[in-house]
Symmetry: C2
Subunit: 152 residues, 2 copies
């Protein structure tokens, strides 16, 4: 889980692009690598910085456009942090899930939907609303950071 490049993950992202009919250009490959190697969530600015440090001339717009694309393809998801700012996380496109985010290091886990649908169904029945979407975000401290705290 060190911040190296995860070739398999990178490939998955690129394949998602190609499957959807987009070109796997060098820039998009770079973004895919950066996303795949991000440990936890990241902002667009963060990604742009890292991209430029890799000595590639990559434009701000390209990063935003690539992230947009990946969001549409459900390869990444956009989070609203408690601070009000936005971040992205890599995630599994194939199943509905939610995110558990470490406030200390930013690492995040996908959390399966579990009993939530039943709960939501009940809320819908009680309120009379037809519920069409939901979003659950969990914030906390991951085991590693909790451990590091204890060591101090």
């Amino acid at each position: 889980m060190r911040p190296g490049i995860n070739a398999t993950q990178t490939e998955r992202i690129i394949q998602a692009l190609e499957r959807a009919g987009y070109q796997a250009t060098p820039n998009r490959r770079l973004v895919a690598e950066l996303v795949a190697s991000a440990d936890g969530h990241f902002t667009a600015a963060h990604l742009l910085d890292r991209g430029r440090r890799e000595r590639v001339t990559i434009g701000r717009a390209t990063v935003f456009r690539a992230l947009d694309l990946l969001t549409t393809l459900r390869v990444v998801e956009r989070l609203d942090l408690p601070s009000g700012s936005h971040a992205y996380v890599l995630c599994d496109p194939d199943e509905h899930h939610h995110h558990l985010i470490c406030s200390s290091c930013g690492r995040s886990e996908d959390v399966a939907d579990g009993e939530l649908p039943a709960l939501i169904e009940r809320i819908g029945r009680r309120s009379g609303y037809r519920i069409e979407a939901h979003r659950l975000e969990l914030f906390g401290t991951c085991p590693r950071c909790a451990g590091a705290e204890a060591d101090r």
Copy 2:
């Protein structure tokens, strides 16, 4: 539930301000009235518009500052809409709850926490995270809007 001024609600907001040691100035009273009479969620810009329509010279900054204050006092809560933009809702400062928002008219309901804590406790145990905060947002169509649809 028409968009009239809800005097009781307005008073509650003003009292929250005073209790916290802030002055209940005419501007803040106006914001309190606007917030109390908002049917559903609203943006800062929306509030500013309405404030100015009431023929009061009120500055953008004042509205933002008042909303900040009310957010701190938990009289309103800031929402992150799926579009990525922000809105505020009036809510009950005394109990933890979540929001059910009508995508069609913007009306919103507080939803009690209910079984969520148990679910979250389980997620925490399974993941090893110490979960410190959570946010659940529900989007759908309220009974009234669903009815209006059916009437068409």
